[in-house]
């Protein structure tokens, strides 16, 4: 028994997360194909329309299925989910067409006070940082931490930058930041330690809407440089 245990595990792994949820782990690493299969599985389970299932929380490499134990039971749902997983044809190409969400971003200046830090750390010009950051479709691996906060993957390692030594008390909503090899957008005003390189005026999270989050799990995000938000 050592640290390699997780690599010896057999996936998918279905386990109870208490008496009202089942966790389905599809892998033990951050991986594009595994993450795709998480979102494909959400669709498959939704289609099966299982009694008592109330909510899904997809993450990097697992899916939490919440259910009402007064309506169904662990035994019943475990069987149903096992059947769905077993019926997946081995090697079948997962059909998963992500939505691409374009976010206009003003880079640098007041909107991105730390862009010079990122450029200095990378040994690049600000223009090169903007070009590199805006030339990728970022994968939304999952949403967590705060309402609408996307965990994005795909940042070019050339512009990966450590967090600020002293976190800011208040980062404006829409701020686009970099922290190590992650990039992301703060949907709401928040404290935070990310290097802020720009800002979008697109409202990312609107609590008055029943589809409150502009960025959804499994979608892609593309940052489009603009000179102003007029």
């Amino acid at each position: 028994m050592d640290a390699t245990d997780s690599k010896l595990q057999v996936f998918p792994r279905l386990v109870p997360a208490g008496d009202s949820a089942i966790l389905i782990e599809l892998g033990a690493e951050i991986d594009v194909a595994i993450n795709d299969s998480v979102y494909a599985l959400v669709e498959q389970i939704k289609r099966a329309n299982l009694r008592g299932v109330s909510e899904f929380i997809p993450t990097y490499r697992s899916l939490l299925v919440n259910y009402d134990p007064l309506v169904t039971s662990f035994r019943v749902l475990f069987e149903q989910l096992t059947v769905i997983l077993e019926n997946q044809v081995v090697g079948e190409k997962i059909v998963f067409n992500p939505v691409v969400i374009e976010l206009p971003v003003v880079y640098g200046g007041e909107a991105g006070p730390d862009i010079q830090n990122v450029a200095d750390h990378a040994g690049l010009t600000i223009e090169q940082v903007v070009d590199i950051h805006s030339s990728v479709d970022y994968r939304v691996y999952m949403i967590g931490f705060a309402p609408g906060f996307p965990y994005l993957g795909g940042l070019d390692s050339r512009i990966a930058t450590p967090r600020l030594k002293t976190p800011r008390i208040l980062i404006p909503a829409g701020s686009v930041g970099i922290a190590e090899s992650q990039t992301g957008v703060y949907p709401n005003e928040s404290p935070g330690g990310w290097q802020i390189i720009g800002r979008t005026v697109t409202k990312l999270f609107d609590i008055s809407s029943h589809t409150p989050s502009k960025i959804t799990p499994g979608s892609r995000v593309r940052f489009v440089p603009v000179t102003s938000h007029e």
Partner: protein
């Protein structure tokens, strides 16, 4: 239609509007929140004739005072608190009549931590994402996503019926606790912990620390050993009652205001049947954990919910028929938690009794 309102005179340290929570948006990072002691809120709603989705007030430690701006029915459930209506002592788990202008005052909670005030019709703030629950960290729900302040006026919803005051005798929670054995289902990441670590978790007493709140209970006690010395996982979803073990080896039990995802391994999950009592425990108290199967956890929850849904709201007192001005009126007197009360045709009024000496 005007259903009346209440005015917060003094919110005490922390009073929040809560209901059953904001489920359905966790995949977008929205915390469920809701009443931590959900049993007490459900019981309160039953006592005032509300459906279970109505919002009430969750009062931490007491200290709240509020004024009723219309005659209505209300009930106090949860923590034991020295509470009065217009200076007259109230019992818990009874629904009383409050009059226009009546002042409800809560002292400090004695047994338990959180009191719930349920009012016929419920607190009628606008719903946000399907719920009225307040989540302060993300500023969602309640009144502008914040705790209540002096001077807040809260509209009431339309009451489903004029509630018959009553007392639940079958469903009570013992709050006079010094230590608790909390039932858990091991997992989902118990496989990352050594046998010694699991043994430590299940055989030790853990003390609730001051750093506990609606988001979670932080515990202090023997260090729980992981297999590889690593406690971090690739962030995944958490649930109400997830027991996370961060790098210091000390458990954190996540509660209503938890974030939706986390990066610490979860050794176990508290059985739903035992979650409400975690809303009533205080810093300094000791907890231990007992492992049960998922099936046992679901059976226990089913039994409790049947008891709660089916608990008869019985008449508080044996009443007697009197003829008052030619019509029959049922009148009774009783006592609950040391509080005196009078029922007139099923409606219960708090009363104070004093001996008077007639003039000679």
């Amino acid at each position: 239609m005007n259903n009346g309102s209440i005015r917060i005179v003094d919110p005490g340290p922390l009073t929040l509007i809560q209901d059953q929570g904001r489920a359905g948006f966790q995949s977008l990072g929205v915390s469920v929140s809701g009443a931590v002691d959900i049993d007490s809120m459900l019981l309160g709603n039953r006592l005032v004739g509300n459906s279970s989705d109505r919002a009430g007030l969750e009062v931490m430690i007491g200290g709240l005072s509020l004024e009723f701006n219309k005659q209505t029915i209300f009930a106090l459930t949860g923590a034991n608190t020295y509470a009065t209506l217009d200076g007259v002592l109230l019992g818990t788990n009874v629904s009383y009549v409050a009059h226009t202008g009546s002042l409800l005052e809560l002292g400090m909670a004695t047994d338990g931590l959180r009191s719930y005030i349920s009012i016929a019709g419920g607190i009628d703030v606008p719903k946000t994402l399907g719920s009225r629950s307040t989540h302060v960290a993300s500023q969602i729900g309640g009144v502008m996503g914040r705790k209540l302040e002096s001077g807040d006026v809260l509209n009431l919803g339309e009451s489903d019926k004029f509630a018959r005051s009553g007392l639940s005798q079958n469903f009570t929670t013992d709050l006079n606790l010094t230590s608790l054995a909390i039932r858990v289902v091991l997992g989902p990441q118990d496989n990352l912990f050594s046998d010694i670590g699991i043994h430590t978790f299940l055989e030790s007493e853990y003390t609730i620390t001051e750093q506990s709140n609606r988001q979670g209970l932080r515990l202090d006690g023997p260090v729980i050993e992981s297999k590889s010395g690593v406690y971090d996982i690739i962030s995944d979803a958490v649930v109400n009652g997830s027991v996370q073990i961060p790098g210091d080896g000390m458990p954190i039990v996540l509660l209503a205001d938890r974030q939706t995802t986390g990066g610490y391994a979860k050794i176990a999950t508290v059985a739903s049947v035992d979650l409400p009592i975690l809303g009533q425990v205080k810093p300094g108290m000791e907890l231990s954990f007992v492992s049960i199967s998922v099936e046992e956890a679901q059976d226990a929850l089913n039994q409790k919910m049947k008891l709660l849904a089916g608990t008869p709201i019985v008449d508080v007192v044996e009443d007697t028929a009197f003829f008052v001005n030619g019509s029959q009126t049922n009148i009774g007197v009783s006592e609950n938690d040391g509080a005196e009360l009078v029922s007139i045709d099923g409606a219960v009024y708090p009363v104070s009794v004093e001996e008077i000496h007639p003039a000679i």
